[in-house]
Amino acid sequence: MFRSTGSGLLVARIAWASLLRRRTRTVLVVLMIAMSLWGLLFMQGLYEGMYEQMIDNAIRSGSGHLTIYAKGYRLEPDIKKLITNIEEVARFLAKDQRVASVVSRINQEALAATANYSRNAKVLGVELGAEQKHGRLADYLRQGELAFGPKARGAVVGSGLAKKLKISLGHKLVLSAQATDNEVSAIALKVRGIIKTNNLAIDDGAVFIDQAKAAEFLGIGAGVTQVCVILHSEEEMVPLQQALRQKFTDLEVFRWDELYPALMQSRVMMEGFSYVTYLLVFAVAALGIFGVILVSILERIREFGIMLAIGTEFALIRKIVLFESFIIGFLGYLSGSLLGGLTLNYFRVHGLDLTAFSEGLDAFGLDAIMYSIIKPDYFVTAFLAVLLATILSVIFPLRVLKKARPIEAITKL
């Protein structure tokens, strides 16, 4: 690009010196780029953190990465549609390296009633030890304990359901549900724990009870309704789903995004959102640089004229202008990234405390304290956006310069 390092250094020297000469203007544009980049990174990291949290909650408390049902269960849930070959499934999953944890559950629609209120609920017969390893349910415990008591008569209730039934720890809860013999079976339970996952399906309807107790209550001899699997890496979801489908043709295997399409939409919306914001950053950077460079070129027509007169090729002047643009963009990018990175890291560790808005947030299934995430490709994409801006924004000003015929500017004194 440069015939020798001599002229390369010359370009750099003139570009840098020209920018320093108009310090305030340069600083303002750099600041503009930095601020918009900072805002973008912050919003992106926070928003992505937000929906990743939602997805994580749903996976840990609800479906896992993959859920296995008996054939036809998802379309028409029925307590009689059970997975009977549990050991075979468990063995298959235990051998697979991709699997991090597995739990099995018995599910049934039920009515939860107290003397004053009754609500539709979902009874989930679970094994607490496995669930804790699987989804770290203890993190979601708000009151009481995650236990079913010595006689397995305890229940852990979702916080929304508890609120609607106006019950709390120690209260009696009567569950009625249809058992496998088509009769309505009822059981009295004592509330031992209240759980808040921000997965609304769980919070507003779930009653967790001991799995063996659930089997007894619902007349199930052997088998479970659902097996949930959490993987080490989300990328393994599709291949493992296929492997399971092939091996167990009498069962159905679903991914979380197939079960919760609305959550997947958050992610898709996010991608659209981030394109728009990168576009905004690009526009801000491009316009800022364009404005500054254009003005600075028009100011320096005579200067460039002299340089051209004494033998500078136009190409060198182009390189100087481009380099100036690049310096501005790069400084803007660096400072914006630094600010953004520090802010994101702070909120990654400490979280953004929005407990003042927790009621509104609850309605959407969002945690009151939001943690942001940082991903390297935020910075890569931002870099590309700014780079593109620096290159594109000098095209027009350079054309203006050429048309202005700098040599004439000095010769027509």
Binding site: E109, A113, R153, V174, E183, V184, A186, I187, A188
Partner: protein
């Protein structure tokens, strides 16, 4: 609630005089008096809220506490609706849409025909003696006061029930239902004991919710006619009966 238990009537046994009677024995007598082998009743049920009032007439057939069949006779828009309860399952037939609906667990707590009784009340198999421990709280010339505490594992929502029993008829006079916190949720009054074919039976039942949100509500059941321990066609207790006897 024992609307179904009520349609069985045994001939009233005179109370045992003299020997101190235990709470458990009292309860047993009450249950015997409210149940019978078979029963056939004609009932007018009036549901009152603070603003409206409506009356439904029905006829019911039952065998013990296990099987019962109800047909709504009035008003015209509800005429022909039938209910069947066999073991712990309940079905309803609505002629207007010509559909038989099985009442699922989730609808159990919903009110039956708009009254202050729930579907669950109609179905509840739990006889008092099975699910509750009875204590005698006190007695006087006219009757006994019993406290019924549910067994810890009994699937009943009540925290406790207080029942007043008449000494002369061994029929309940007033039953108070309390929630776990001891707050009174509703009261069922049995009044106007009459003789039906030689058997003493309360002909007026009033269910009054006591919670503030249901102030002014009342369900009044009047037994207009009753026949006990006569044979009843078993056909009534099949699913076919829902449609067949709807007309």
């Amino acid at each position: 609630m024992r609307l179904f238990m009520v349609i069985m009537l045994l001939f009233l046994l005179p109370p045992q005089a003299g020997a101190a009677i235990t709470a458990a024995e009292i309860i047993k007598k009450v249950e015997d008096n409210l149940n019978g082998e078979t029963a056939r009743l004609a009932i007018a049920m009036t549901v009152k809220t603070s603003r409206t009032q409506r009356t439904v007439r029905l006829e019911s057939f039952s065998i013990g506490t296990d099987k019962s069949f109800i047909r709504i006779a009035y008003p015209k828009k509800d005429e022909g609706i039938t209910f069947l309860k066999v073991d712990k399952q309940m079905w309803q037939y609505v002629p207007r849409i010509e559909k038989i609906i099985k009442i699922p667990a989730s609808m159990m707590q919903q009110s039956w025909m708009g009254s202050d009784f729930s579907n669950d009340d109609l179905i509840k198999e739990s006889s008092i003696s099975k699910d509750y421990d009875a204590n005698l709280l006190g007695e006087d010339g006219s009757g006994f006061s019993l406290e019924l505490i549910p067994h810890p594992e009994a699937p009943v929502v009540w925290g406790k029930i207080i029942m007043g029993v008449s000494r002369s008829s061994f029929l309940p006079t007033e039953v108070d239902y309390f929630d776990e916190e001891g707050v009174l949720v509703r009261t069922l009054y049995y009044r106007e004991v009459q003789r039906f074919a030689g058997r003493l039976y309360p002909s007026l039942w009033v269910m009054e919710p006591k919670t503030p949100d249901k102030a002014g509500h009342q369900t009044i059941v009047r037994v207009e006619a009753a026949e006990f321990d006569q044979p009843i066609d078993p056909e009534y207790f099949t699913k076919r009966a829902l449609k067949r006897f709807s007309k």
